[in-house]
């Protein structure tokens, strides 16, 4: 049985997909050049890459950063995340520049729209202009941006400091606080040999840092044991969970650890090729990441016969996404690497036996790979002497929202929510969204709960909502996010996330009733239980958590029976239907 969906879409030969010729990269170039993907270019590209036209079209329509209708020469996307987004600012700039959200101005100069979280939650509000990130927006900065556009100044000539992204590391821990010498992990690996190092990784208790928490050592073991023509290592840097930005910091200031972790994994599982799948929102990191790869080549930490070890060959390539949260799901990420829509595959088979190009593949989170590199140097004991019972080591949190010092904080697992809130200066907290929208929304009476796989698992997002936050608006924001990001493959998620979004729109607008809430609960339960992948299975979490812990935020907006006055007499309106059907029995009446 072969059961991954879209199995026969043409993945192209590996050579075709390399670097500049990857479909996503070619489409990015077209989008930059023409501000959209012209129809003519689609068929030319399909011919050149030897792909069906329909495959190229389906990819163009799947990813948020590709467009059929021209965007402005200045294409601005405001984050709509509750932490780094500011819709009011978007409308301000729209007014100032005479443009409606989502509609390119008639002269073709400017377009303004919103996009899902761009990972700048510690330095928002933030936007992307022609794919480049501007952080720490103020009213003044918006005016300056409008002036630059007014004078037709190319984005490359805008002041450099506008684009500066700070690390904002507020609390160092095991990973962020331990210096790493490039190559030290590989030396140790060659010294130990792959089997021994693998045992060390298993013993360390390291579990996937993306949130799901599968044992990293076991994943590598399964992949090593799987047979195939080639093995692959993929670093999942498609950090899309709203409120998460810790991978941004690791890729900015700890890229050596990440690449070394990938290389170590290659050494252990017998792979010669690794890919870093970088979210399109982090494209600004590309030049420096490529420079690091170059330096590693020069230092014999990549390429052939690494550190003089015969046959230890490994290379790393970077593939850049184009705006699709679902590609953070490992099998959707693989589909995207294979130049297709990012639709999660049916599992089993799992990527460890049948992943990229149907070959055994390890997909690991950025933080997981960085941790593996450090474990190779310092040993399993160094790692698992920290943390809690079932959660060894530490976790880097991306803290944002209503607190004094948002930024990255690293804690040993087992830390309480209250301790974290104290450290970042969060007072009068109404709720915390642990693990982002797909995680858990908790109330103050749960702030003694602990971070860890046994209690509150998290991929790193930690969003704080103060007493003045409108929680219902937050839940509505998340419902819109999931409806926008659903890939559309399975019915429960495709239709269900839109139904949930519509329910919340109705309730927040003050037109909802008790039965709307009951219906929403029923749908949320169905979507959570019956969806194909993790996106649908977690999309209803904010709704279900809020209904359980904060029922009043819904209740206070509902129209109640006593005040509910229908515009017309429903039973009288049915009279004509009764006459037509010659019925007058009880069931033909509304009581």
């Amino acid at each position: 049985m072969h059961s991954n969906n879209g199995p026969d879409s043409n993945a192209g030969s590996p050579a075709q997909q390399c670097g500049d010729n990857h479909l996503l990269h070619r489409l990015y170039e077209l989008q930059q050049k023409f501000q959209h993907i012209p129809k003519q270019a689609i068929s030319e590209l399909a011919t050149e890459l030897n792909l069906p036209i329909s495959q190229v079209e389906s990819v163009v329509d799947f990813y948020s950063f590709f467009h059929r209708i021209p965007r402005g020469r200045y294409d601005i996307l405001f984050s709509n995340c509750t932490s780094c987004g500011d819709t009011a600012m978007m409308h301000t700039l729209c007014e100032r520049l005479g443009v409606s959200p989502g509609v390119t101005r008639e002269d073709g100069v400017v377009s303004i729209a919103s996009t899902s979280c761009i990972g700048m939650c510690d330095q928002g509000a933030a936007l992307l202009v022609n794919g480049r990130t501007i952080t720490r927006l103020t009213k003044r900065r918006l005016e300056q941006i409008a002036e630059q556009i007014g004078t037709d100044t190319p984005v490359e000539d805008w002041p450099v400091e506008w684009f500066r992204v700070h690390d904002n590391v507020r609390k160092n821990g095991l990973l962020l606080g331990t210096a790493f010498e490039a190559g030290s992990g590989l030396q140790s690996a060659i010294h130990q040999g792959p089997e021994e190092l693998l045992e060390e990784i298993v013993k360390s208790g390291l579990r996937g840092r993306g949130g799901a928490g599968f044992s990293t050592g076991m994943k590598w073991k399964f992949c090593r044991a799987a047979t195939g023509d080639a093995h692959y290592v993929i670093c999942n840097a498609d950090e899309g969970e709203p409120g998460t930005f810790k991978d941004r910091i690791l890729l900015t200031s700890h890229a050596h650890e990440v690449f070394e972790g990938m290389t170590l994994c290659g050494y252990i599982i017998g792979s010669h090729k690794g890919y870093l799948y970088l979210r399109g929102e982090y494209r600004y990191l590309l030049p420096e990441l490529r420079a690091v790869l170059k330096r590693r080549h020069k230092a014999k930490l990549l390429g052939e016969n690494i550190l003089g070890k015969k046959g230890f060959n490994f290379d790393i390539e970077i593939i850049i996404g184009a705006g699709a949260y679902i590609c953070g799901e490992e099998s959707a990420l693989i589909e995207s690497m294979e130049q297709k829509r990012g639709v999660p595959r049916v599992r089993p088979p799992f990527p460890v036996t049948k992943g990229y190009l149907d070959q055994p593949t390890v997909v690991n989170n950025v933080e997981t790979l960085a941790a593996a590199a450090q474990i190779a140097v310092h040993g399993s004991g160094w790692f698992n002497s920290h943390g809690s019972d079932k959660s060894d080591g530490s976790k880097i949190l991306s803290i944002s929202g209503d607190c004094a010092t948002p930024g990255a904080y690293e804690y040993a697992f087992g830390v309480s929510i209250q301790r974290i809130l104290d450290d970042c200066g969060a007072e009068h907290v109404q709720a915390v969204q642990v693990g982002g929208p797909s995680g858990t929304l908790i109330a103050p009476d749960e702030f003694e709960r602990k971070l860890g796989f046994e209690d509150l698992a998290t991929g790193g997002s930690f969003m704080i909502y103060g007493k003045d936050s409108d929680l219902l608006e937050v839940v509505r924001n998340f419902a819109h996010f999931f409806a926008h990001e659903s890939c559309g493959f399975c019915t429960p998620c495709r239709v269900g996330t839109t139904l949930l979004k519509n329910s919340l729109d109705k309730i927040t607008s003050g037109r909802g009733t008790k039965s709307d809430v009951d219906e929403m609960y029923r749908m949320a339960t169905l979507v959570k239980r019956r969806s194909h992948c993790g996106l649908g299975q977690t999309a209803p979490n904010p709704i279900l958590d809020a209904l359980k812990r904060f029922p009043d935020v819904f209740e206070s907006r509902l129209v109640h029976d006593s005040e509910f006055e229908p515009h017309f007499d429903l039973d009288a309106a049915l009279e004509e239907a009764r006459q037509i059907s010659h019925r007058d029995d009880a069931e033909a009446h509304l009581v």
Binding site: M1, S3, S9, V346, T491, R529
Partner: protein, 248 residues
């Protein structure tokens, strides 16, 4: 490939055999047990997208069409709770598209309609989405009415796996996903599809219809006028479009 039947699963308490490599759906169909499904068709690769075949396997939700059968699985299928789930999913499929059964040529031969009857679905329940979708009547022999498309991808797979072509694909994302065809113009007439293709006949709803063969079988004598969807062995009958349902 197929080994001896030495292992079994139970479906609603009934023990049935399975062969290595079979899914729960395969085993169920072989034992004449009906598990509602729309995107599955024996002979094509399992897809697992419509979720009509959602079952509970040892208490966990799973798609029968993609989950490999494994010894000792206890499968719940025909339960009140699952019927409710499937009915809701069917209603979701109805409201996301534009389905007007009385004016659809496929009525009576439509699997979506038949499943809805089987599940006692009496209305769409949810507010209609009324999407705007394109009709493509460019092809001389085949019409593509996207209003009725349920994204099951049977045509996509039939064209690829059986016809050896690549006529159809799903483009876009989420609720905006849509069926497209593989030609520069985006029109069906400019693809290499013919009326002999399985892809031209496999549509479970009225999204892909053969032209000039409308209403050859009168209403009242169509497939699901004479059978219920749960009748065993219907798959070949469903595919005999434009022919009398009981004409063998």
């Amino acid at each position: 490939m197929s080994k001896k039947n030495n292992t079994t699963i139970t479906i609603d308490g009934r023990e049935i055999p399975f062969e290595e490599g079979q899914t729960i759906m395969d085993a169920a169909l072989a034992a004449d047990i009906y598990i509602p499904h729309l995107c599955h068709r024996p002979g094509l690769k399992p897809h697992g997208s419509c979720k009509l075949c959602t079952v509970e396997v040892n208490g966990r939700s799973a798609s029968a069409c993609t989950l490999p059968a494994a010894s000792g699985q206890e499968v719940s299928n025909n339960t009140e709770a699952l019927t409710e789930v499937r009915k809701t999913i069917t209603q979701m499929l109805f409201v996301e598209g534009n389905h007007f059964c009385p004016s659809c040529e496929k009525t009576g031969d439509c699997t979506l309609q038949a499943v809805a009857y089987h599940l006692d679905m009496l209305d769409g329940h949810f507010p209609q989405f009324y999407p705007r979708r394109e009709v493509d009547a460019s092809h001389p022999g085949i019409v593509l009415d996207r209003d009725r498309c349920i994204m099951c991808e049977l045509c996509v797979r039939a064209s690829r796996e059986v016809d050896g072509k690549d006529v159809f694909a799903i483009a876009g994302r989420g609720i905006d996903a849509k069926l497209i065809v593989n030609s520069e113009s985006g029109k069906l007439a400019d693809t290499d599809i013919t009326t002999d293709d399985l892809a031209a006949h496999i549509c479970p709803v009225g999204a892909i219809l053969i032209k000039e063969h409308g209403y050859e079988t009168p209403i009242g004598r169509r497939t699901f006028d004479l059978h219920t969807i749960a009748d065993p062995g219907l798959e070949p009958v469903i595919l005999r479009k434009g022919k009398h349902a009981d004409e063998h």
